[in-house]
């Protein structure tokens, strides 16, 4: 089984910051907007290097989204930065009308997604954002798994014309994808080859899926792990190719099972190849305060939960 090495824990938001810094140097049309969370979003370096292209809007997210939409008129590529909760639910109608329906080239970059935001608790831990954003026609939805991939995705979305939601997080997590790797929007990445079960994971759950696959392998279960960084447009072919071989699937995400990656996968399977599926996701609940590890355990989002789901789905084959 192919194994992956953690080159050192890093936060995905810093991958975004590094990507934005590089874009500042390579693409003069890139502008950045922030709603009073510059440090949290790791946008300081871009701000220092390009003060004329950095727009501090204050605690006014609705205005930020509108300004970003307007800035595209004349050729700028705006990257907005705030927490995932304030990037989506708080400004849904602004995104819907001024960005998505108007098809503006705005990149909505959202940190602190999911329960791994930790101690701040449920007011700040959005678990509904993937669903909200994937329902908007024309919106590309990306949830990256580590520092390197988040940096690569940040660079990649600047070249893509159209609205994008880029979701990442706060905690330091294993960094294992290639440094300066290519990021192709909508293209799944097969991480391990396997025959017994397909594990489709996104975001912070990708590393957990690899850990689960390693443990399962020791017990004679061969798992194929697929990193779905782009939830929309979904790589239907990669999913169908894999389940044609394995015959069952576990989806894993730091999001409500209503509206998340799992439901998108279920749709593809229902239409093309009905397949037993188990969901590793939060079960229609809000989060709470705690450390990221405690919360991942309590809400069933770690490698152990994935292993349990695999055992369950194998019995349904």
């Amino acid at each position: 089984m192919k194994t992956y090495t953690n080159t050192g824990n890093k936060d995905t938001r810093s991958g975004f910051g590094a990507g934005l810094t590089e874009l500042g140097q390579t693409n003069e049309n890139v502008v950045a907007l922030c709603a009073d969370l510059t440090g949290s979003l790791k946008m300081d370096e871009f701000k220092e290097n390009h003060p004329e292209r950095f727009f501090q809007v204050g605690i006014a997210e609705a205005n930020m989204i509108g300004i970003a939409a307007g800035m595209t008129i004349g050729g700028k590529i705006p990257f907005t930065g705030t927490f995932a909760n304030f990037s989506t639910g708080r400004v849904y109608d602004q995104i819907r009308q001024s960005v998505a329906y108007s098809h503006k080239n705005v990149k909505i970059c959202a940190s602190h997604a999911g329960v791994t935001l930790g101690e701040d608790g449920a007011t700040h831990q959005i678990l509904e954002d993937i669903g909200l954003m994937k329902m908007l026609p024309g919106m590309t939805v990306i949830n990256t798994c580590d520092y390197n991939q988040t940096k690569a995705a940040t660079l990649s979305i600047a070249k893509h014309h159209g609205p994008v939601y880029l979701r990442f997080g706060r905690p330091k997590v294993p960094n294992f994808t290639p440094e300066n790797g290519e990021f192709e929007i909508g293209k799944a990445v097969k991480l391990t080859e396997g025959n017994d079960v397909t594990i489709i994971a996104t975001g912070h759950l990708v590393w957990e899926a690899l850990e689960a696959a390693k443990a399962l392998n020791e017990n004679g279960i061969s798992a194929e792990v697929i990193n779905i960084h782009t939830i929309k447009p979904l790589d239907d072919k990669a999913i169908l190719d894999s389940v044609s071989k394995t015959g069952c699937v576990v989806t894993a995400e730091e999001h409500n099972y209503l509206g998340g990656l799992g439901e998108s996968v279920a749709r593809v399977l229902a239409l093309n190849k009905p397949t037993p599926q188990e969901f590793v996701a939060t079960k229609d609940t809000f989060g709470e305060s705690g450390t990221p590890a405690q919360l991942m355990e309590k809400y069933g989002l770690n490698s152990f939960a994935i292993q349990e789901a695999v055992k369950k789905v194998l019995k349904r084959k």
Partner: protein, 281 residues
């Protein structure tokens, strides 16, 4: 340059277009549209510097954003009659497969429209964004926007108003259609707006008041003054006092025609008050 009579004639024709558009589909918003007919005619014929043809990026020309998108009939009529798309297309207003959606949108690629609007309160932010990009592009042209007075009840406007002053967006001229009416009644009854001039000034804007917002000369004079204030470190607000339903006597001074179309008899009455000038579509 057009003379005043030419602008009056165009306004009269625009009023006919508005009435006929909303009558045909028995829906739409004639009241606010009629109240802003003179403003749109002045804006597109005299005030804004625009290029021939339509380019979404609008570099090297003035831009306009309609925030209160429900007055789409006046917007469409003036866009068509200033050459953005064929006047005959006004026939398709609100019909299936039309580019002339109930509220303006970029989705169908209608020339002249740069943002969707209709869900209220978003246009000033968009206009500010476009103005920021003009500054980055060192493009000295101006950005204009129009907002309903009732629309200012949406909180996003005040985020935008604060931002524009704090960031010296002095290439923006945001006009408020002060007709004092909204769907449920007068703004004073629904949610009093207080002294808007004092509010904008307190937020750090320059304010120009146009008392006779349905008079061509007054609009031209007021907007010229607004233009002269641009580039001085402050955003500019124009308070345009209009009469909802202007030019059609039974539609004036009431909110009743905010979102209601005339019947056959009322249409005939309205058209009789506005004799054809440039030719119906």
């Amino acid at each position: 340059m057009s003379n005043i009579q030419q602008l009056e004639d165009l306004t009269t024709q625009v009023r006919r277009d508005i009435l006929r558009m909303v009558h045909k589909v028995n829906s739409g918003h004639p009241g606010g549209s009629l109240g802003c007919a003179e403003f749109f005619v002045c804006l597109y014929k005299e005030i804004m510097e625009t290029k021939d043809g339509f380019n979404m990026d609008g570099i090297g020309e003035d831009l306009f954003f309609l925030s209160n998108g429900h007055i789409s009939p006046v917007y469409y009529s003036v866009l068509a009659r200033t050459g953005y798309f064929p006047v005959e297309e006004l026939n398709t207003f609100r019909l299936i497969d039309s580019r002339l959606q109930g509220h303006p949108t970029t989705h169908e690629g209608l020339p002249g429209i740069r943002i969707a609007s209709g869900s209220l309160g978003q246009g000033m932010s968009v206009a500010i964004g476009a103005a920021e990009t003009k500054k980055l592009n060192k493009d000295n042209h101006l950005v204009y926007s129009l907002h309903g007075d009732g629309e200012l009840q949406e909180g996003q406007n005040w985020e935008a108003i604060m931002y524009a002053a704090g960031n010296k967006i002095d290439n923006l001229i945001a006009t408020v259609d002060l007709n004092g009416q909204q769907i449920d009644g007068s703004t004073d009854n629904v949610l009093p707006m207080g002294n808007l001039k004092a509010k904008f000034e307190a937020f750090g804007w320059d304010v120009v008041e146009i008392e006779k917002g349905n008079t061509i000369e007054a609009i031209l004079e007021g907007m010229a003054k607004a233009k002269s204030l641009s580039g001085n470190g402050k955003p500019i607000c124009v308070l345009l006092k209009t009469v909802m339903g202007n030019g059609v006597d039974f539609m004036m001074h009431t909110h009743a025609w905010h979102g209601k179309a005339p019947n056959d008899e009322q249409l005939a009455n309205g058209l009789a008050q506005n004799a054809e000038t440039l030719g119906d579509y």
